[in-house]
Symmetry: C2
Subunit: 241 residues, 2 copies
């Protein structure tokens, strides 16, 4: 619905290539370096990559603080230090840019979920590790806002909601469920039914993220403490206070 009016495309003489953001820089060197204050030896490709990254960062900030529709690409361009036209060298349009950003922003999260499962240690330690990682990497960073952004815009971007469900939610819940079942088998967790709703285990973590976005300035919430209490409830009181 938003801006689908490109129908009048006149198929300009330009080669129809137009690399979409999608896979463009997949083979790039693992050293984006972001906005390089100094420009030592930058090849054209490297500078292009740097600009692309600047656009991504700027756009993410704008989308987070304004939402999809209210974000102006003029502002994104200004913040990224490029002209508006440059954005269209990297992304097809506002909508696909938004979708790609959300997808990309999630990749790091997915990686963390595949952390080594607790084979040696206790299940509680494993989950505690997840919780700590979550607080550090999500709750107290921009990524937390991205989670809120998904909640906010998901219904209007079904493809994002679907992608998110497939790539993050279903996998994450499956991993958590496996851990819960292990915990039940080992006797660490009493509630057998918990494995049926792994959502219960992650719910406080998500609430913490949303809370910070909405009420954080007014009534900060100690996410680490809260998650600790929650784990005590699942596994029983901690041995040492």
């Amino acid at each position: 619905m938003p801006s689908s009016r490109t129908t009048t495309a006149k198929t300009r003489s330009k080669p129809a290539d137009h690399r979409r953001g999608e896979k463009a820089g997949s083979a790039r060197a693992p050293q984006p370096a972001k906005a390089s204050s100094s420009e030592p030896a930058s090849s054209r490709a490297e500078r292009a990559a740097g600009r692309r990254q600047a656009i991504i960062d700027a756009a993410l900030d704008e989308f987070i603080s304004r939402g999809f529709t209210a974000t102006r690409l003029d502002d994104v361009a200004k913040r990224a230090g490029v002209a508006k036209g440059t954005i269209y060298l990297h992304f097809k349009d506002k909508e696909s840019m938004f979708e790609e950003l959300i997808r990309t922003a999630l990749v790091p999260l997915i990686g963390r979920l595949h952390a080594p499962p607790a084979i040696g240690g206790s299940v509680r330690d494993a989950i505690e590790g997840f919780a700590r990682t979550f607080v550090q990497e999500v709750a107290s960073t921009r990524r937390g806002e991205i989670v809120r952004l998904i909640v906010a815009e998901g219904p209007r971007f079904p493809s994002i909601a679907d992608f998110y469900y497939r790539e993050v939610v279903s996998r994450g819940l499956a991993a958590i469920r496996a851990l819960i079942e292990l915990g039940v088998a080992r006797g660490e967790i009493k509630q057998k039914n918990l494995a049926r709703f792994p959502q219960i285990l992650v719910a406080p973590a998500l609430i913490a993220v949303i809370w910070q976005s909405l009420f954080g300035r007014h009534a900060p919430l100690d996410a680490t403490e809260m998650l600790g209490v929650h784990l005590d409830m699942i596994f029983g009181e901690r041995r040492t206070a």
Copy 2:
């Protein structure tokens, strides 16, 4: 004094149509707040109230499915079966209309929170009652979407977030906290620290609402079942499986 403003264009052709009499459209709300159903013939004031209600319903639907910025007041007017100008007879502008709608939509929720506390029955029963009410009145109605809308637009409407925190969240959590403390005192709840974070108790309920909005069509979630399991975790396994 005859304004000369319209002089440029000679008196336009009359608007032709002008449906009068029955308001045909979806104007009539399924739940007339006023006693408009009693009187077949509506007075001017009554019709105005009916229109106002139609606008409110239409606007809420549009805001829910599109968000604040992407909602067009032309669409709201069309859906309500009124002209756009009519909206401005009832609301100052789009923003204050949005704020008023969100506030109004919450009033019924607040009422429920002040339900009779469990003096006679068990704390678990009281909380179970809350949960049941929540599922019936929020999770499975449009109000659930309003919760999501607040999460989505809250950061851009601090006054809404503040209002919501003051009127709903802080009061609701205080009530829950009191119940938890009662439960701890009675020995129904083991985890004493739970009272420090009443958020843990309501977290799964909110997650259920958000889940339905985002993934409901793809992977429906049995909120009642989940909340039941969660309560089992807090109070201990239910007597009868």
